[in-house]
Every structure is written in structure tokens, then in C-alpha cells.
């Protein structure tokens, strides 16, 4: 072999080795390590970010915002990037209103990320940006705001730090309210700036659906204001007012005292934000006589003119004595209701019998949930007749040995107001998507007929007598016909297990205008001090709420004969 030929072979071998090496490297990079290297490149050039659509707003029946989301700053620290945690904590403390030692402790942790304060006020975020501290960053997060403060707080509930509904409507409608979660890949340039999402067709995550309530913020305000005044005046433990449209079951207002601010729940106990209107049961006392009377009239066991003997205020039943608040002799059935005679009610119950009374009480919705669209509702307590004692028939007829919620009571009285037809109570009337398109419309729902229209009308006349001539005189609204019933119930003393002589619940249930009811209202005052009669503590609250709400709704008064006909001309003036 000539030297030139062997040099050529040597060169060829060198080239083959070189190309072989390159080919080997190519196969290693492009085939064997392809997945790993692609992932590494993606990590450097792409950023994966989870976006969450804003939580849907909650508005009242006229579109007034009651709850909405707003983006606010959250402050985080990168402890590994800090030179002096103590100095940083000293700068941060007055801005974040967090103790310096607490911040320093967080910043000294061996972590690459710690939250220092989440969802702070926008001004705090701006001040931090001006400070531009190394190792401290700000990101925007959605925070739930309740711009009306404590208004309707027990119904709205509240959302947690991570935006999930924890109480009230926020919890009940969590699946509709929360926004869509979507992970998006962003391209980054050499400086780490975001260029644009991979795939420009990607849409932003959709916000949650918005709720429109049946609640009217003005009616709610009136109810809350009057309840607070009444509770303070009576030095009571608390109270409840529910205002309902008896023809539809729509809740117009639901006030619970004491109130709370859903913007600041961290320091409160669950006891404070519980919606007592549907989670707490109480013995209704004399207001229950309305339902007993309805059953007796429907079954024709009693007529308005049926005579009952009041036993001069004392009657022995099953070795116990039933008292009336005043000695009464002979009275009509209507007078029995108007004067709220316990003995008369017990006799009415006895005339009905256990099974019939139980059947009607069930029909009025006691012992079962109303199925309102709010969480935490209890069913109350209505024992079946087989568990009744010898006195139970009499006791239940005058509102003892039965546990009800304020919502059950207002639903029951609303059924009488609505000609004997019970409607399902509800608070959300519409659900709309982010474009305002209707997703769901809630229509009034009939539950059942409880009594006939004739019975409802007869009872209305009797209940009007309660306000004109009976115990509910202070509920009278000038110019309107009011039908209602007072109730005063002794609470059970938890220490002795017997009825307390100092702790009472004063209540009033009624509707107005009696001839064509627009409002059914319950007022419950828990443990008023001093005079605890429902006719004294609750009936005046009914009057004040009813008067203001009827004015607001523009309901004409009976005595308003001076109806001016507004012509086209004077309307324009």
C-alpha cells in the first residue's frame, strides 16, 4: 500500500470517527435525552401559571351589589434571598401592621417562599412597592368584599382566604359562584418577560356565575335597624325578623341579631355568624294557636262563634295546671284567639285529637325543613303522637313541647295569608353567567294546600281581631288592615330542665294588608328584660317594619281616599 493511499484511509477513518461521534451525540441528544432536554428547555422558556376566574357577584333584587371580588395585593418573602431579615422585618412591620418579631421569624425560615400577609389593602401594596425591598414581592389575589358591611351578613355568609365559600349563600352556591381554574403556559424571553400564551386561541378562565337575590336591600336595612333598636331597647340576647312575600315565598328580608361584619370574621366564633332564623329552634308559645285554630276551623271542630269556657283561668290536665294570663269565663272561639287563652287552645286541641292535630302541624311544615336554599337549616322538633305524654295535646296546642324555627313559623303564617297555599321559601331568584345571560331562573314553587280559602279568610278575620281588640294592638298600622298573633314563650332553663320564670321569647307573626297580603312578617325577640310579652316587645317592631316597608313598596293605605290622578302634565313637572 502506497503512503498516499494509507494517508487517505487514515483521513477517511478520522472523518468516519468524527462523523460517528457527531451522529452518536445527535442520537443521544435528539433521541435518548430528548424528553428530558425538551422539558428543561420548556422550564427555562415557559412559565406555567394557574389563573382563576373571579368569584361571581351577589346582588339584591334590584341589582345592588352585596358581595363581589376585587384583586388586592398579597405579600410574600424569599428568605433565602435576604441579607438582613431583621432590617426587612423592621421596614415591613408598620406597612403590614404585623408585629416585627413575627415577620422576622417567618423571614428567618429556611424556605424559598413564605407568605407574609395575604389580601391586604391596595394602599399597603403601593407603599410596599415604593419601599422596593429585596426579597419581598407582591402578587395580586382575588379578595371577597362585602361593601354593605354587616347588612345581610347571616344570609350571605362569607368566603375563606382561598376564595371558597364557607358559610351562608357563599357556601350553598359554591359550585356556581367560584370561577373557572385554568393552567396557562406563558412563553418567556431572555429577560424573563412574558411574551404571549402558547396558542393565542386560549381564553381567559371564565368568572363564576352571579346570583340575584329575592332580598331587597332597603327592606333588609329596615328589618335590621328595627331589630337592633328593639333588641337594645329590651336589653335582649338577640332576635330575628323575616319578611316574606306570601304569594311567592320570596324572602324580602332576613335580619338576625347580633350582627357581624363578613369582611372581618377572623376574630369571631361560629356562634356569631350562625343564621339563627333557620338553625335555632324555640318553643313558639301562643303564635302556634293560629295553626291549631286553622286546623279546628278546617275540620269544622270549631266555628268563630263556638262558645268555650275559660275555667276562670285555671284548668287541670294530666295532674298539672294550665293557667291563663287573665281569668276568663265563657268566650267565643274567635275571642279565645284574640285574648290568647291557653285553656281555650288546649280545649281546641283536645277537640281535634292527637292524630288530626299532628297531621295539620306536619302539613304546616313543622318537624321538617322548609328546603330554603340556605345551608344549616334544622327540621325543628315535632314528636309523633305515639311519643306524646298525657299533657302533650294541650301543651302543643298552646305552643309548648314543639320546637320550631322562625322560618317555619313565617312560612306557616304566609300560607294562611296566601289563601291556604304554602309556598316554598327561597332567596336566590336568578343565576346569570359572566355575560349576563340567564343560567337559571327560580320560579315560585307551591308546596301544598294546607287549608281551604274559606278557612284562611275566616282565620284572617279572627287574626285582625287580635290586632284591633286583642293582645296585638301595638302591631296596628294606621290605614292598613293587619292580621297577626302574639306569642310569649318561657324558655327551658338548661340548669333545671324546667320552664324558666326569667327567660322568655316574645314574638309576633302576621301579615298586611290583611285583605290582600303583600308581607308576612315574624319578629322574635330572645330573652328580653323587663316586660317580655310578645305584644309589648315584638308587636311594635312589626308595626314599624310593616309601615316603612309598605311605604317603600308604594302600597296604598285604606284611608287614603285622596287619590290624585297624576296626569301626563304633572308627572313631567
Amino acid at each position: 500500500m502506497s503512503p498516499s493511499r494509507s494517508r487517505r484511509y487514515f483521513m477517511l477513518l478520522l472523518l468516519l470517527c468524527g462523523f460517528g461521534g457527531i451522529l452518536f451525540r445527535l442520537v443521544t441528544l435528539q433521541v435518548l435525552q430528548a424528553a428530558e432536554l425538551t422539558a428543561r428547555a420548556d422550564r427555562q422558556h415557559q412559565k406555567s401559571v394557574t389563573f382563576e376566574g373571579a368569584r361571581g357577584a351577589v346582588t339584591d333584587r334590584h341589582g345592588k351589589v352585596l358581595a363581589m371580588n376585587m384583586e388586592v395585593p398579597s405579600v410574600f418573602g424569599v428568605p433565602t434571598a435576604l441579607e438582613s431579615p431583621a432590617a426587612t422585618a423592621r421596614h415591613l412591620s408598620p406597612v403590614l401592621h404585623v408585629r416585627r418579631d413575627e415577620l422576622e421569624k417567618k423571614l428567618r425560615q429556611d424556605k424559598s417562599f413564605v407568605w407574609l400577609a395575604r389580601k391586604v389593602e391596595p394602599e399597603q401594596g403601593q407603599r410596599l412597592e415604593r419601599l422596593s425591598l429585596d426579597g419581598i414581592g407582591v402578587v395580586m389575589e382575588g379578595r371577597r368584599f362585602y361593601p354593605k358591611g354587616p347588612l345581610l351578613a347571616h344570609v350571605l355568609g362569607f368566603a375563606g382566604m382561598d376564595g371558597q365559600g364557607l358559610e351562608g349563600l357563599e357556601r350553598r352556591y359554591e359550585s356556581q359562584l367560584h370561577g373557572e381554574k385554568r393552567v396557562t403556559i406563558l412563553q418567556r424571553d431572555a429577560l424573563g418577560r412574558t411574551v404571549f400564551p402558547k396558542g393565542l386561541s386560549e381564553k381567559a378562565p371564565a368568572p363564576g356565575h352571579a346570583l340575584t337575590l329575592t332580598i331587597d336591600e332597603v327592606i333588609q336595612y329596615v328589618a335590621e335597624k328595627e331589630l337592633e333598636e328593639a333588641v337594645n331597647h329590651a336589653r335582649a340576647k338577640g332576635g330575628t325578623i323575616i319578611v316574606m312575600d306570601p304569594q311567592t315565598g320570596a324572602i324580602l328580608g332576613m335580619a338576625v341579631s347580633p350582627r357581624f361584619d363578613p369582611n372581618a370574621v377572623a376574630s369571631l366564633t361560629p356562634d356569631r355568624w350562625r343564621n339563627r332564623a333557620l338553625t335555632d329552634t324555640y318553643e313558639p308559645g301562643s303564635t302556634m294557636k293560629v295553626m291549631v285554630a286553622a286546623a279546628a276551623l278546617e275540620e269544622k271542630v270549631m266555628m268563630p262563634g263556638t262558645m268555650l269556657f275559660g275555667e276562670n283561668g285555671r284548668m287541670v290536665v294530666a295532674s298539672t295546671t294550665i293557667h291563663d294570663h287573665e281569668k276568663m269565663g265563657w268566650m267565643t272561639f274567635a275571642q279565645m284567639i284574640q285574648k290568647s287563652s291557653n285553656i281555650g287552645a288546649a280545649k281546641t286541641g283536645m277537640a281535634l285529637g292527637e292524630q288530626r292535630l299532628y297531621r295539620y302541624l306536619q302539613s304546616f311544615g313543622f318537624g321538617q325543613r322548609t328546603d330554603i336554599d340556605l345551608p344549616g337549616e334544622v327540621s325543628g322538633l315535632l314528636k309523633p303522637p305515639k311519643d306524646w305524654g298525657r299533657r302533650s295535646l294541650a301543651s302543643i296546642s298552646m305552643g309548648q313541647e314543639i320546637g320550631v324555627t322562625a322560618l317555619q313559623m313565617v312560612s306557616a303564617i304566609a300560607a294562611i295569608a296566601n289563601n291556604g297555599v304554602m309556598m316554598k321559601p327561597y332567596v336566590v331568584s336568578e343565576i346569570r353567567d359572566e355575560k349576563g345571560m340567564l343560567v337559571k331562573e327560580v320560579m315560585p314553587q307551591v308546596k301544598r294546600r294546607v287549608v281551604s280559602p274559606e278557612t284562611a279568610r275566616t282565620l284572617t278575620t279572627i287574626l285582625e281581631g287580635v290586632v284591633t281588640d286583642g293582645t296585638g294592638a301595638k302591631a296596628a298600622i294606621p290605614g292598613f288592615r293587619v292580621a297577626g298573633k302574639t306569642g310569649t314563650a318561657q324558655k327551658i332553663d338548661p340548669r333545671t330542665g324546667t320552664y324558666s320564670n326569667t327567660q322568655f321569647i316574645g314574638s309576633f307573626i302576621g301579615y298586611v294588608p290583611a285583605e290582600s297580603p303583600r308581607l308576612a312578617v315574624i319578629v322574635v325577640i330572645d330573652e328580653p328584660q323587663g316586660e317580655a310579652w310578645g305584644g309589648v316587645v315584638s308587636a311594635p317592631v312589626f308595626r314599624r317594619v310593616g309601615e316603612q316597608v309598605l311605604n317603600y313598596l308604594g302600597v296604598s293605605r285604606d284611608d287614603q281616599i285622596k287619590i290624585a290622578l297624576a296626569t301626563d302634565r304633572n308627572v313631567r313637572e
Binding site: 345592588k64 351589589v65 352585596l66 363581589m68 371580588n69 376585587m70 384583586e71 391596595p122 395580586m140 368584599f145 361593601p147 354593605k148 358591611g149 347588612l151 412563553q187 418577560r193 412574558t194 411574551v195 404571549f196 336591600e217 332597603v218 336595612y221 335597624k225 294606621p478 309601615e547 316603612q548 311605604n551 317603600y552 313598596l553 308604594g554 302600597v555 296604598s556 293605605r557 287614603q560 285622596k562 287619590i563 290624585a564 290622578l565 297624576a566 296626569t567 301626563d568 304633572n570 308627572v571 313631567r572 313637572e573
Partner: protein, 111 residues
């Protein structure tokens, strides 16, 4: 012919490079506009929250009573007035009725 082909190829390359650069430029522009949109939406939400807080009935009642010395209408001071069918539909029937009622009261006061 050859020159034309080279020029054509150069033009194609130029258009391709220009298109790529423009895509990146538009990408930055889109991001800037998105950031601006987010800021505007944030401002809108802040104003909405503020507006809702300022129009809360509790606050209005407080301002009306404490600052302006107003009191709720007393018994017999509110007149509901029925409108004729041909009257123009108003956005808020209740507000319109009360306005008309006030007009009547003014007229009476002047009598």
C-alpha cells in the same frame, strides 16, 4: 434570471424575518394591553366596591339624619298617587310616585 431568483429568495427571507419580528412585537403589545386591561378592571372593581359601600342604606340614613337633619316621613306624610295609563313609564315607579306626592304637598302648602 439568476439575479431575479436570488432577489426573490432574499425577499422571501426578509418577509419571513419581518413576519417573525412583527409577531414578537405584537406579542409584547398584546401583553401591554392585557396588563392595562387588568389595571382598568381592577380600578373598575375598586370603584364598584366603593360605590356600593357609599350607597349602603345604613350610611345614607346616617348622613341624612346626622348631617342633613332629615327624619323619616311621619304618619300621614306619604301620599301614594296612581298614575294614568297614558303617563310615560318611569324607571322607578316608587320614586316617581313620591315625587308627584311632594308636588301635591307643595301645592297644598302654597294654598
Amino acid at each position: 434570471m439568476k439575479t431575479m431568483m436570488i432577489l426573490g429568495a432574499l425577499c422571501l427571507i426578509f418577509v419571513f424575518v419581518w413576519e417573525r419580528v412583527d409577531v414578537v412585537r405584537l406579542g409584547y403589545q398584546i401583553e401591554r394591553l392585557k396588563a392595562q386591561k387588568i389595571l382598568l378592571e381592577r380600578e373598575r372593581d375598586q370603584l364598584q366596591v366603593r360605590f356600593s359601600g357609599l350607597t349602603a342604606p345604613e350610611r345614607i340614613a346616617k348622613v341624612a339624619t346626622e348631617k342633613l337633619g332629615l327624619i323619616p316621613p311621619q304618619q300621614g306624610q306619604v301620599f301614594m298617587v296612581r298614575q294614568l295609563p297614558q303617563a310615560p313609564a318611569s324607571a322607578s315607579p316608587v320614586a316617581e310616585q313620591i315625587r308627584v306626592a311632594r308636588n301635591i304637598q307643595k301645592t297644598r302648602a302654597g294654598e
